[in-house]
Symmetry: C2
Subunit: 327 residues, 2 copies
């Protein structure tokens, strides 16, 4: 081997090394959650128990970015968790997957997402005569369907919560340590709305910021963990990311840029105001639009997104197996 | 009358006028909600129907401050709405009040606050044999109590939601137009966590802020609407505000300063980490501590806060009536 090539190898290795160091340095300055070990154990047991199935990690809801160490105020991302919680239900209903649902505390969850606590409570009546509690008869059919689905699928569902950006990032990284064992059988469906900005803890106010004068805040960029995730943490998995914009004109170009930059398989692009009716599934070479009329037909677009990505994941597995067998 | 006095009068009048103009200018630049008329009508009818009772307006939950006009990101205030929703329940249980509950959409509500949607759903079982839905027997006693209270009190409860700071401020002002008619029979219990900072709409990004570089945000101070509220909007009402700090050392002095500045009756001061176990009720002349051990005794401090302020409101009404009769 010529010395030129060997020199090139070293450069490449050192650039990979730099990238790993950078992401480690970023994590090192964040506040590490105390429950990572127990999450890893739980997730490991869950995956082991379901290893005859494909495994999906679905992330859901927005991350918070605290403005104070004793946090009263924070920056949040708009997301109720509809995309992630609905997709989890549909994915479980295929019968092919066990799902780890990593979601923002108090955002929507599978099954219970169909009603607010108040709506549900309003369907329960206390009967003074019998001193019993009954469910409104008009509500029973819907509730019965949901409870049925829940019963049939919930042992293939593991729920884990986050609130802050740090909690999300640390937990995501920890889960990939477990998921990496399952290679191409793993799908990551990263629907959470993760903040692009944060305030490094050393720049943060300790106490509630006083309101004696106007406030200037300086946010740093959050490094894109999608890159180390695809490259180092779960290199064999089928990774899907989401892109939400309010300006449709930049949406597709941003989706394609993300694919080139991070090297994953699929970006699901959506625009804030039409996100329940239209998404575009973008790969490096083509794009496919899914459109529904969610108001008119009382359907959820997540049903069709899930059908589509399940097929893509299966094609990916088949392709990987074919490649492996020819080697 | 000497011309000096007349000059002084004019100065005073013009300072009041300036204050009113300033607050009007602040409101004028905010986005006005479209449903204020219907809120006013609904609140008017509700108060009329309950005019044999005292009326309370309880505000609850945090306000959001959008960072973009097409809002993906926003600043939020830590508050689940526990204080406001629990206090509403206890106040309704006295039988003396009708309550307008002005709360952050999706924050805790009276009655349903006792469980998350998931907890409630987990207590309902579908029985495949009978195809019926039943409530867990261990859960029935608690649920029965809550449904009983709900049934007995909910016709004295009017719920109105807000999300953004603008929605909160406009709705609050609109409601005071209705409440002012009821004079000292009205109590305002302002437990909502209202942002002190905002980004004026003309300084706001139109679309989702791009994450190509670090972000600097400049927030302006929100003028304290408590001042016009006490002085002009409901001058005869019994007004209680809340003060939350993370630094106990400045809490009481800030509470007292607020009373001097805004001229209302009572500040309930609490510290972030101990807020479920200790509050200090601060007036211009004295202070009173309420302390419970919420963990040990399974009690809610709101029960005692409500008992205390109901008595204070009654004393206030008696005093006002005595003053009126001697004039």
């Amino acid at each position: 081997m010529a010395s030129g090539t060997s020199h090139l190898m070293t450069q490449r290795q050192s650039s990979v090394f730099d990238e790993l160091v950078q992401i480690d340095e970023f994590f090192a300055q964040l506040q590490k959650p105390s429950n990572l070990d127990s999450i890893r154990t739980k997730a490991g047991e869950f995956c082991k128990r379901n290893e005859h199935l494909k495994i999906a990690l679905i992330t859901s809801g927005g991350t918070t970015v605290p403005m104070e160490l004793n946090t009263v105020r924070f920056v949040d991302n708009f997301s109720a968790g509809t995309r992630g919680s609905a997709s989890t239900e549909y994915l479980l209903q295929t019968g092919q997957y066990a799902v780890i649902f990593l979601y923002r505390s108090k955002s929507l969850e599978p099954y219970s997402r169909h009603f607010s606590p108040d709506e549900l409570l309003n369907q329960l009546q206390w009967e003074p005569e019998t001193d019993d509690i009954t469910v409104s008869s008009s509500f029973k059919p819907k509730l019965r369907e949901i409870l049925k689905h829940k019963k049939e699928t919930e042992d293939r569902l593991l729920k884990i919560t986050f609130t802050t950006l740090s909690e999300y990032l640390f937990t995501l990284r920890e889960l990939t340590l477990v998921l990496n064992e399952f290679g191409s059988n793993t799908m990551l469906y990263l629907a959470a709305a993760v903040s692009d900005f944060y305030i490094p803890p050393e720049n943060m106010a300790i106490h509630k910021i006083q309101s004696s004068e106007p406030l200037r805040l300086h946010f740093e960029l959050v490094p894109k963990v999608l890159r180390p995730l695809v490259k180092f943490w779960v290199p064999d998995a089928f990774v899907i990311s989401f892109k939400l914009e309010t300006d449709e004109n930049i949406l597709l170009s941003k989706a394609r840029k993300a694919l080139t930059k991070y090297g994953h398989k699929l970006v699901i692009a959506n625009e804030l105001n039409t996100r329940k009716d239209k998404v575009t599934l973008v790969t490096e070479t083509d794009s496919e639009v899914i459109k529904v009329d969610s108001q008119l037909n009382n359907v959820e677009i997540e049903k069709f997104i899930v059908e589509n990505v399940v097929q893509r994941h299966q094609d990916f597995i088949t392709q990987v197996e074919a490649e492996t067998s020819t080697h």
